[in-house]
Symmetry: C2
């Protein structure tokens, strides 16, 4: 198996993606394609004493996608960028999956354009894992689609369910529909229609639909997959991050208050480390773009080398899972006949 | 001034609203109308030794709105309910404002039907205050309107700005538009149109619009008023509550870990009490329904007596502020000519 890493994307590029790729090659024994400016890659491999590591291949791409580029058009304008070249490797069957910490919008457009969506899937969704009571919850869609339809939401539910089952190893994942109340009748027309379709899928044994979930229910761990339009999903994702950061800052103040609290911190250090680890995105790796016909993993912009290694682990598991084939085989259950 | 309290609404009714009303009468020197089943009210006043407290008037309402009633029709079906009677007091000029911890939907429908909206205001919005870095942020709308228009959002911005200025005492409140990215071009058509109108209002000196805000920005305190459709606003409000609860639970585990951490807690107790106070909704009191032609304060369902007292404080400040008149005088800036 070959995993392409766009080494020019993200805040810590190219060092973190290159080091993460090397760590992944050693840890997982699969072939890693480091895509980017070859001089920089070779220099860093040398500096890191990783020149001869088994399973590392360098693929030159002179250009770089940056945050000022228009996401919708950049991959056409910069066909020699590391992101475009890495996506083309996947498209051409020269790589099985791609990991990138570059622009979310550019990666989504590029993946849709080059790797295509699974036949019958209307839109790809960004599906990050968030911490919650008892483990993690997958949010589908967390921002790829500002405006959605009932059919998109139905597909997000199936895609999330299959990912949770096949890649995360959750048996019969609990699917919740993010809504403004838990009662069956809540939400706008799109939510009500989606509720009816998910209930039908549940009754047919195709999904484990647990009903509407509110903003309180998602961090409480009431579902494994939270289905949402990309606007509210993005608001939820960022709000979780924002509140976690705000509260962590306030907790820090509690411990920094005086000499006694600083001493108290020593007793609590192990617990606090575990607490911080809950919100450590690096341990997760990245978020898949579900619905694309090949595994595409969007790593967080601030990804460390460990985050890239974990994103590669995710890409390998995704590739091995056979999930994309399963989606294709069951696409009839995920489409609304008009 | 007369403030009506619906004493049959909320998880702790009628005890908490009655005791809160008595505390408010003593603290603020305004007349409090306790609306509900008179036998229960007199019995509780007696038990609490509050029979002769100055400024307390009991108004009998035999019926009660409960959570199983249809919010849209209950006040017509139960005209003798405490909520309906209290709203009618306001409508008839026998009370200046109302505080209720009853069903949000019923209070919204009833307030709209009986107290009416300010002329020109299209929809009332629920506007709770949430904790954030550096203070509090008002979320408008947090759930009254599942589906919105550009004009609603424009009005929410003005209503929130005026409330923050006149009742919360914030000079030139910073207005943010909740969006899925901070760039000017983000969001759906409604968000883009609203952005343009808010920018125009800012340039004309009518609002202090600070641009789009993401879910991360709201807990970080980047605005005083966050403008949102009621669906995403409800998701944001509940997500803040959910994450805060989840994290508080995890922090508790850190301190409950062993004998040393339990001892450490003693050193941190004062700081932890202040930390918890940040998220104490009772200290705020309630959320106004902005846009109604009289002050209507929705108290949290789990409100304590202190919460009711603070909600009355809010109702008094709202009544004194002259905000509703200011909205009427400036309604031309808040409407879109068609």
């Amino acid at each position: 198996m070959k995993i392409a890493i766009d080494v020019m994307g993200g805040d810590n590029a190219p060092l973190a993606p290159i080091c993460g790729g090397v760590m992944a090659a050693k840890a997982y024994g699969e072939e890693i394609l480091l895509v980017g400016q070859q001089d920089a890659i070779h220099r860093i491999l040398k500096e890191q004493g990783a020149e001869g590591v088994n399973g590392i291949t360098v693929i030159h791409a002179p250009d770089v996608v940056d945050m000022h580029d228009d996401p919708a058009t950049v991959l056409r304008q910069k066909p020699e960028s590391s992101m475009a070249v890495a996506l083309k490797l996947v498209k051409d069957g020269k790589a099985d999956a791609i990991v990138s910490a570059g622009s979310t919008g550019a990666l989504l457009s590029g993946a849709t354009l080059l790797c295509k969506r699974i036949k019958g899937i209307r839109r790809a969704a960004l599906a990050p894992l968030m911490p919650c009571a008892g483990g993690q919850v997958m949010l589908v869609d967390a921002g790829a689609n500002t405006e959605c339809t009932t059919e998109y939401l139905l597909q997000f539910a199936f895609l999330g369910s299959l990912y949770a089952e096949k890649i995360l190893g959750i048996q019969s994942p609990r699917i919740g529909l993010v809504n403004n109340g838990s009662e069956d009748s809540k939400g706008d027309t799109m939510r009500k229609e989606t509720y009816a379709l998910l209930k039908e899928a549940h009754e047919a044994g195709r999904l484990n639909f647990v009903g509407n979930v509110e903003g309180t229910d998602v961090p409480a761990g009431k579902c494994d997959v939270a289905v949402c339009d990309g606007f509210a999903g993005n608001v939820m994702l960022k709000t979780i991050e924002g509140v976690a950061k705000f509260m962590a800052g306030e907790i820090k103040k509690v411990f920094m208050r005086n000499a006694a609290t600083k001493l108290a911190y020593q007793a609590c250090k192990k617990g606090m480390d575990e607490f911080r680890e809950l919100f450590n995105q690096d341990a997760i790796g990245g978020a898949p773009f579900l619905g694309i016909a090949h595994p595409v993993i969007k790593a967080h912009g601030s990804s460390s080398d460990v985050a890239f290694m974990n994103a590669v682990r995710q890409a390998i598991a995704y590739t091995k899972s056979g999930m994309i084939e399963t989606v294709s085989q069951n696409i009839d259950h995920m489409t609304i006949s008009h």
